[in-house]
């Protein structure tokens, strides 16, 4: 088996943005496979984190769901929405009524039929029955009801226009499950082995070790962007959970696994050089960014926020620690692979230490203590930066934040970097305005609609808990709302860009780097692609070659 230097070189050399937009270089024209396709076999895949359930609102669950459940629509490599369970769809002129026409003769793996009624039930399950909180976050402010018009026609009614509904439905959170299964089976069963109509079925789950998926031999409903039809090629996927990145890479190299998730930056080149196919997907949506708390503390002063942005050379830090693998992202609103991305917003700040000093002087932070931290009225310029270590920020990300801390110190910012364990993070630690000054984090999304989640006003008078600045910016919210409901794509993107520039101008948030989904695949396995909504590994087309 000889590696394919051509494709690997192409991947490694490709610039991040282009590569990410194409999703995966291998997806398009198959670059002359060096061997014959072999039917059957077992793919052993090493993933990083183990979720509690297969289906749910966490990206780790979406990755699994994507291989087990079919969604209504799929996103192709060109970021176009293409049919999956829905053969076609349309929107009413007022943008409030969506109609999906379903593929006929699709059966769930429990034998029940896919009907419009089942799909409507799923919508209701996600939004109104707490079935999926992330789905709720996307649809909550817009969704009214879903009804079966006939056996294969579903109608979704919205409270206000939401032109990118279909784009959002391509995410793994919106996999369609068997109504019969949801209604009759226990929570435990629906958690561990949800019933969908997907290419694979959950066979069993050895907690802490692996989930085994077996081929759905009756599979008839692949997404339009898949490479073949009919059942998947391989018999079985052993989806292992190996938390340690080094171990994953080593297992791949020793042949114990066929593919791994999340190749650490430091191992990237070596893994590619060793003949493995590297897949990199720059997640659209919110990048890894720093949002300032503008409601309390030192960052209520815009000058101080700007000074912080000028104080650090984010690009240098990311390029060094990310070793050229992790893409630098200057935009604090959305990542470079998101439709409606503003390069202008991304380029707003670059390191200018003098300017930072000037701004701090203007803001009254003129004193200096023995550590070199600036002071004002005796108070040090100290800011709290908690990050959710090991879950939201990985090891590379932590190092990058340490770089930020170190460089900010040179301009007189004392940054308290606090790694927050998962338990605390999920318990809502550091979620209050008096607890933190800077919030780092990402949120995957397929559209710039993520701006609405992150910056929009809260629903029904409640504060928007997802707004990390703790402050409502009515001007910004108006732009986003207008964008969300703008049916014309170009006009919509222009509005989204305007929103990003607002964020940059006022230094509400600054970008740092783009979140990646990466895969490394052994040369004997081909046809693995990263789905284009979130970058999860998709094994429907995967097959071994001889």
């Amino acid at each position: 088996m000889t590696p394919r230097p051509h494709s690997i070189a192409a991947i490694v050399a490709a610039t991040a943005a282009l590569l990410a937009l194409s999703g995966c270089a291998a997806t398009g024209a198959e670059p002359a496979p060096a061997g014959e396709l072999v039917e059957g076999g077992t793919i052993t895949y090493a993933h990083q984190q183990e979720p509690a359930c297969v289906f749910g609102g966490w990206i780790e669950q979406a990755y699994l769901s994507y291989n087990v459940l079919d969604s209504l629509v799929s996103l192709d490599a060109d970021h176009e929405v293409v049919p999956w369970l829905a053969e076609s769809w349309s929107v009413s002129d007022d943008g409030l009524q969506w109609t999906f026409e379903l593929k006929p003769d699709v059966k769930f793996t429990d034998g029940s039929d896919l009907t419009a009624e089942v799909v409507a039930y799923n919508f209701d399950h996600w939004v109104n029955q707490g079935g999926n909180s992330t789905a709720f976050a996307w649809l909550g402010g817009y969704y009214e009801s879903a009804t079966a018009v006939d056996d294969l026609t579903v109608q979704v009614d919205l409270s206000s226009p939401y032109p990118r509904l279909a784009d959002n439905l391509t995410q793994g959170y919106f996999g369609i499950q068997s109504q019969q299964a949801l209604e009759t089976r226990s929570d435990e069963e629906n958690c561990a082995s949800p019933i969908g109509s997907g290419a694979f079925v959950v066979d069993h789950w050895d907690r802490g070790q692996e989930i085994v998926l077996t081929r759905n031999d009756e599979y008839t409903s692949p997404p339009a962007n898949a490479e073949h039809t009919g059942p998947a090629y391989v018999d079985e996927i052993v989806w292992k959970f190996v938390a340690d990145a080094t171990t994953r890479v080593a297992a791949l190299k020793s042949g114990e696994v066929d593919a791994i998730y999340d190749v650490p930056a430091v191992q990237w080149d070596a893994t590619g050089d060793a003949g493995f196919e590297l897949l990199k997907y720059v997640t659209p949506g919110r990048p890894q960014q720093l949002t300032f708390n503008t409601a309390q503390g030192v960052f209520t002063d815009e000058k101080v926020r700007q000074a912080f942005a000028y104080a650090i050379d984010r690009e240098e830090i990311v390029e060094s620690i990310g070793r050229g693998v992790i893409p630098y992202e200057g935009n604090g609103g959305v990542s470079q692979t998101t439709p409606g991305y503003s390069q202008k917003a991304a380029d707003w700040y670059s390191q200018d230490v003098d300017k930072a000093a000037e701004l701090l002087d203007e803001a009254g932070w003129t004193g200096e203590d023995s550590d070199g931290t600036r002071t004002k009225d005796g108070e040090p310029l100290q800011v709290t930066l908690p990050y959710f270590a090991g879950s939201i920020i990985n090891a590379d990300g932590a190092s990058i934040l340490q770089g930020v801390q170190e460089q900010a110190a040179k301009s007189g910012f004392k940054v308290d970097l606090i790694p927050v364990p998962q338990a605390e993070a999920f318990a809502g630690a550091y979620s209050q305005p008096d607890e933190r000054d800077i919030y780092p984090g990402y949120w995957t999304a397929v559209t710039s609609g993520i701006l609405h989640i992150n910056w929009g006003a809260g629903a029904g008078g409640e504060p928007n808990n997802w707004n990390a600045s703790f402050t409502d910016y009515p001007e910004l919210q108006a732009i986003i709302l207008a964008a969300n409901s703008e049916p014309d794509v170009d006009a919509q993107n222009a509005l989204y860009e305007q929103a990003q520039e607002y964020i940059a101008e006022h230094a509400l948030a600054i970008g740092v780097y783009d979140r990646l989904s990466t895969l490394a695949v052994s040369p004997g396995l081909q046809g693995v692609w990263q789905e284009n909504a979130q970058g999860g590994p998709t094994f429907y087309d995967a097959h071994f070659v001889q």
């Binding site: 509690a52 909180s133 435990e188 802490g208 297992a251 364990p421 809502g428 808990n465």
Partner: protein
Amino acid sequence: MTLTSSSETDAAVPGREAGAPRRGPATLRLVAGKAVGAVLVLLGAATAAFFAQASLPGDRATVILNIRAGQAIARTPEELAPINAEYRLHDPLIVQYLTYLKGLVVGDLGLSYQQHRPVIAIIADQLGATIVLTLTALAFAWIIMVVWVTLTAGRGPVVNALGGFFDTTAAGLPHYWLGIILLLVFALTLGWFPVIGGTGAVGIILPALTLAIPLAGFLGQATRTEFERSLDSPFVLSARMRGMSDVGIRLRHVLRHAVLPAVTLSGWALGATISGAVVVEAVFARPGIGQVLVTAVSSQDMPVVIGIVMLVAAFYVLANLLVDIAYVLIDPRLRRAS
């Protein structure tokens, strides 16, 4: 005071083991006492785990919801209401505690908040792997320790110092570090062992060694001291006077005395290995109770945490019972009968 007066057991019955302790009410009382003690310990462990877990900062319902969503944000009461209702999290703590105890009595450890599965099933899934790992590690530790101490103890100051040096070093090796180094050398570099071991026989060698080497050092320290003491004891001299070789003396006489403290320590070690197992399971990506525990703590999956605490406590109690038995087997003098 020696108990046996010669007249008592004089009438030996041929073919029957003489000197066997008389069993009867005293034994029964002993067993009953041990059982009550064990139950009390389990109860204490469960109570400690319950209240420790309950005192964790943050709202449990929020955690449950956030994990399901992969988010780390504050939640509104409306969002939390169904979860609070489902797990009765708004009951007063004491009511929750009593409810939990009631479940315990009938053997119900409850349902996992996150996996929606009975805790018993979750534990049962992982228990085997951890027990196999622990016992293998213990066996390895004993083999390494016995061979090493028998070879080096009482061989003159230089060899003995060398032996002791290695005992001390081994005992001070951090598990995770040793595991990583073993993995790096034997799996990643030399390729003799698989990187992700799974549950196979070959895969268990490195993880078990990782646990065993520090344990061997720890046990070795105790055994070496005792070994040297025994080597100098009069019964060893009288065995030499009988014409016994050095190897024979070490293996047939001294070793048996020397391992007694290590036997006692093993009971403690068996119970404590769970902590080491957490680390080893993380390094070697092995399934097991340790992984489940860490996940459960970090997701505040209280029923799972308490279930595992109960299990570890039971394991500890059992291990110490076995140690008592082993002790009597090795040292039939029953000196420590109490």
